[in-house]
């Protein structure tokens, strides 16, 4: 409220040593992941294909959640989120690693992962045959290329325009990004939904759920917001951002994290509830696979860990404004997002309970490490907040009543 001119100067760059440390850490995680992945791959190639898909989905949905965050800030012309938007821009770099992970680690294993519509018995399966116009190798590959192209171009567009503004300060660039955000969101929603159908839901081609894409989207946004919360807190604690990203912005990210956790639950329950009520075998089979033996505990872990715990903990404003508590919850939600992805993918292989292996951890470390290594590179190469964003003053003034 004070009328005096506010000083918006904050640290512009990550100190070189810190940037190096983060990059080394990410590459180290990837290296450990590679070693463990090798062990997993040698042990059971079929199993590792599923492990890798889980990890790929974990990191890709996170990148997609970040892309969504960036576009939503533009489409709503948000003023509070100028600094977190830059951090989300870094995270969208994951979407440039994802296609490599996909075409190296997922695509060659198609016959293992999607054998229900690619294998021999598919020809004798009336339901699968009826879906062959959509579920066939050529169209599947083409769609994957298209999805990755959409995401990579959107990520590039928002990153490069934002960076251009850092030097020019041209407000026209903000208008350009705003104009792109709306069609970008439409493209994002469609591609993201069908990617979910293609890569995860089609593993069990008899079963379908129209809300499935939204479910994966909700989990991805939760993961992206968790990382944004951690970045905000780390930059605050290190004394790098004190003005454009403060406890107020941390609180706002926390609110979104709380909100999207509830949204995830809402979507998860909507999917579950209709299937439970309909009680038709070809639909209930999805949940039956996830309720046999130790999968039952895994499902309950998802319910408690991905809903009850975060909702209770993050409800209060005091916990969202507390650096330690929000950090713990953010890390917890990232873990729960993995539990979620694992819950979607692995029961297609393990019909008799959870069979957790080192390969699962290895694939996660590998995909996450590679994704975040690029994120760290981008973070080192760009300012910590959009230096000349026209809404910077507004972002600075944010206050939660």
């Amino acid at each position: 409220m004070s009328s005096k001119q506010q000083d918006l100067k904050d640290t512009e760059r990550l100190p070189e040593a810190t940037a190096k440390k983060v990059q080394t850490l990410a590459l180290g995680v990837a290296a450990v992941g590679l070693a463990l992945s090798a062990v997993g791959y040698m042990g059971d190639k079929q199993r590792f294909a599923f492990s890798f898909l889980t990890a790929f989905e974990w990191v890709t949905t996170l990148g997609l959640g970040a892309l969504f965050f960036v576009m939503i800030q533009h489409v709503t012309r948000a003023g509070w989120s100028v600094a977190p938007r830059r951090h989300a821009e870094w995270l969208t770099s994951i979407l440039w690693v994802s296609p490599i992970l996909f075409f190296v680690g997922v695509f060659p294993n198609m016959h293992t992962l999607y054998e229900h519509w690619l294998g021999e018995h598919a020809a004798h399966d009336a339901i699968v045959k009826a879906k062959q116009a959509y579920l066939n190798t050529g169209f599947f590959t083409g769609r994957a290329v298209l999805f990755f192209a959409i995401w990579a171009v959107l990520a590039w567009f928002f990153q490069s325009k934002s960076r251009e503004q850092d030097s020019s300060g041209d407000t026209k660039l903000t208008e350009k990004m705003q104009a792109m955000a709306a069609p970008g969101l439409a493209l994002f929603a469609l591609s993201q939904t069908f990617a979910g159908f293609d890569w995860v839901m089609s593993m069990d081609p008899h079963w379908y759920s129209t809300i499935f894409g939204v479910y994966m989207f909700a989990g991805g946004v939760v993961a992206a917001l968790s990382v944004l919360a951690i970045i905000n807190i780390r930059l605050q604690s290190a004394g790098l951002l004190q003005k454009v990203s403060t406890v107020e912005h941390q609180h706002d990210i926390g609110k979104l994290l709380f909100g999207f956790t509830v949204f995830w639950t809402y979507i998860a329950f909507s999917q579950y509830f209709l299937i439970w009520y309909g009680n038709i075998p070809e639909e209930t089979i999805f949940f039956k696979h996830r309720w046999v033996e130790s999968w039952k505990e895994w499902s309950l872990l998802l319910l408690v860990g991905h809903f009850i715990v975060p909702v209770v903990v993050l409800m209060s404003r005091h916990t969202k404004r507390n650096k330690a508590i929000l950090t713990v919850m953010a890390v917890w939600m990232l873990l729960m997002h993995f539990v979620d992805m694992y819950w979607l993918v692995m029961p297609n292989l393990d019909h008799h309970g959870v069979h957790f292996t080192l390969g699962d951890v290895g694939a996660l470390f590998l995909c996450a490490g590679l994704g975040f290594a690029l994120v760290a590179r981008r973070a080192a190469a760009s300012p910590l907040f959009p230096l000349k964003d026209p809404r910077l003053a507004e972002a600075h003034k944010v206050e939660n009543l």
Partner: protein
């Protein structure tokens, strides 16, 4: 709360004649700084009346965090438990109906009602809790007697210091408000 005992120097008055001292400011920031000084001087029972919410005013006034969230939480828990026990009793115990073989009571089918009643009673808690905390409905408040008070919903930013404040002294606070830049500083009758 102690009865207001106006200290009067010189003359002797029989009954308290002053409920509050009221004045107005032209800008939100003037009001904001006035609130800060009152807070720093140790005044407790004073209030600001503005045509629109002024950000950060609660900090300038030194207000404690609202108790409203706890009322809302109480509403939420009441709603949740009501919905749970109602559905369990009606569907599971008192009058079970067989509808396509579904159990009379099940958590799954109860969730929408659990959600709705939790939200409904939270909303009630928020709405009526706020009324209660604000002392509403209130048809009269001494502050309204200030001749320009209608401008509090237009373009003036009012500040009132109530006589029940332990540090209240009509002469001192009148001078204080004037010093802080308030206009039309007047005493209002109870």
């Amino acid at each position: 709360m102690a009865e207001a005992k106006p200290k009067v120097r010189g003359k002797v008055v029989a009954a308290p004649t002053c409920a509050a001292v009221v004045g107005w400011f032209e800008t939100p920031s003037a009001l904001y700084h006035a609130c800060e000084s009152l807070r720093d001087k140790g005044y407790k029972d004073f209030d600001a009346h503005t045509p629109f919410p002024v950000h950060g005013l609660e900090k300038a006034m030194g207000l404690k965090p609202s108790r409203l969230p706890w009322i809302v939480l109480g509403g939420a828990i009441t709603g949740f438990l009501t919905a749970l026990s109602m559905q369990w009793w009606m569907g599971g115990v008192d009058y079970p109906l067989n509808i396509s073989g579904k159990p009379g009571f099940s958590i799954q089918a109860s969730i929408p009602i659990l959600f709705e009643l939790t939200v409904l009673l939270s909303a009630f808690g928020t709405f009526f809790g706020l009324w209660g905390l604000c002392g509403l409905p209130k048809l009269f408040d001494p502050v309204m007697q200030h001749p320009s008070f209608h401008k509090a919903s237009d373009d003036r930013f009012f500040l009132s210091i109530e006589a029940k404040d332990p540090k209240f002294d009509s002469k001192t606070v009148t001078e204080l408000l004037q010093k802080l830049g308030a206009h039309e500083v007047e005493e209002v009758a109870p």
